[in-house]
Symmetry: C2
Subunit: 265 residues, 2 copies
């Protein structure tokens, strides 16, 4: 799994890259079933919207075998190692629900702002990865990205503890307007199994979802090992402190698990 | 201004029809400027979101010359008369703001439900018209329609007085899921000046808008004169009681006003 020169160029210029249907329907079906089962659990890693619907589940690689394999999958890891030129570890691992009918907003923000302020991460050498577990459509609250905004550096932000159930360092309207005027907005869409990579400083957000179509994505942060966090303040299940480089599993690991589950059923 | 047989067929089968760029840039620029000026006024017809941003302005045809001309414009009136086979009057006239950054949700609903319950309208022989004052994009909270749902009749609804600043008879998730399974969802987009017509029983809603792009639309209801409302309960500026048929103005009336304003400037 190697990115082409064109793909690398797009990532560096625009700040994002979509790899359509990188995972197969069989692999994604397994992950989707497991995600739904995780959301039904009452545990501190599962956070909910004001409505009670799931918003995100943290650190599923630590308590779910399918998500453990995904978190070390070579199709995900290798492109990121290629960009950073070194091994990576898992800084954060979430399954974001954006539930049907009630999925709430994520306000405009940069992720590196949070990693720096809350976790003491030295540089924006960590990659955001979104793996679609449902089809992402224009109408079910896709991630919206401001292309090229990763060049704007670490922008002034305010800690929003009010708007939603998730505390977030958000950008002001003037800053977002200026960056959108320069770069526009893209909302990459695609079938389940697609993977979106984007820069830790890329400005992004997502609107609410009022459709009957849920929009679950796995949302991971892969940090370059040399860029490990220096001043953790958040719980270990939110910002991990195991800085050992990920050793990729076999490419067919998820498929084998899916087939083993079917035989056992 | 006559609809073709294909256009009429689409309206009757799908419940909606988009007429791209029916009004010119010059006409829409005038209306957009006037809408912004109206939103700045403190008056009972201008309703606001919880954030203070404008949500909608009622009955602008009664206090604004440009919107008076739009409300009697032959390019809007004639297609509706053609569908109903009789003259029409203005039942409701709103300019919906869906403001940049803060524009709120409109939950899933049918408009005829409100007209029947609150206004005593005998039949769903009233047409919803949306005229785009800004470009409507997939990302700035476009109207979402459930095609063919106008055949489902008048569906059970609950009066939502909580979710937003506007009281609305909304549909439950089970009903919306069933209708979307049958008909899907469309979110017609287009340049400013485009006009969307849809059936009074067509299920629709719109998500919030977190982008820097406002999405102002004029949202009118044209009722067949014979179908005038029998039991008004809402204020006159919300559900009008002047049932006189609209006499269309000249096709160039808006252009002439725009040019007169420019000369006076």
């Amino acid at each position: 799994m190697k990115l082409t020169k064109e793909q690398l160029d797009q990532f560096h210029t625009e700040g994002w890259l979509l790899l359509p249907e990188l995972f197969t329907a069989e692999e994604v079906d397994l992950l989707r079933r497991e995600a739904i089962a995780i959301y039904e659990q009452q545990r501190p890693e599962v956070w909910r919207e004001k409505s009670g619907a799931p918003r995100t589940a943290f650190a599923a690689h630590k308590y779910n075998e399918a998500f453990r394999l995904l978190g070390a999958h070579p199709r995900m890891i290798e492109p990121v190692e290629q960009v950073f030129g070194e091994k990576v570890y898992l800084h954060q691992y979430k399954i974001n629900a954006k539930s049907a009918f009630t999925g709430e907003v994520w306000q405009w923000h940069q992720d590196y702002g949070t990693w720096k302020r809350d976790d003491g991460m030295p540089e924006p050498r960590a990659m955001n990865i979104s793996i679609f577990l449902d089809e992402v459509m224009p109408i079910n609250g896709p991630l919206m990205l401001v292309p090229r905004s990763h060049n704007a550096g670490d922008l002034k932000a305010s800690h929003d503890l009010e708007t939603t159930s998730y505390p977030l360092w958000t950008l002001d309207e003037e800053t977002v307007s200026r960056l959108v005027k320069e770069g526009g907005i893209v909302a990459p869409t695609g079938k389940a199994g697609s993977m979106l990579m984007f820069h830790g400083n890329l400005v992004h957000g997502s609107a609410g979802n009022i459709t009957p179509y849920p929009r679950k994505i796995v949302y991971l942060t892969l940090n370059a090992v040399s860029n490990y966090i220096r001043k953790p303040t958040r719980a270990e299940f939110i910002a991990h402190q195991d800085f050992a480089p990920i050793e990729p599993v076999d490419d067919d690991a998820l498929i084998r698990l899916a087939r083993a589950q079917r035989q056992a059923a």
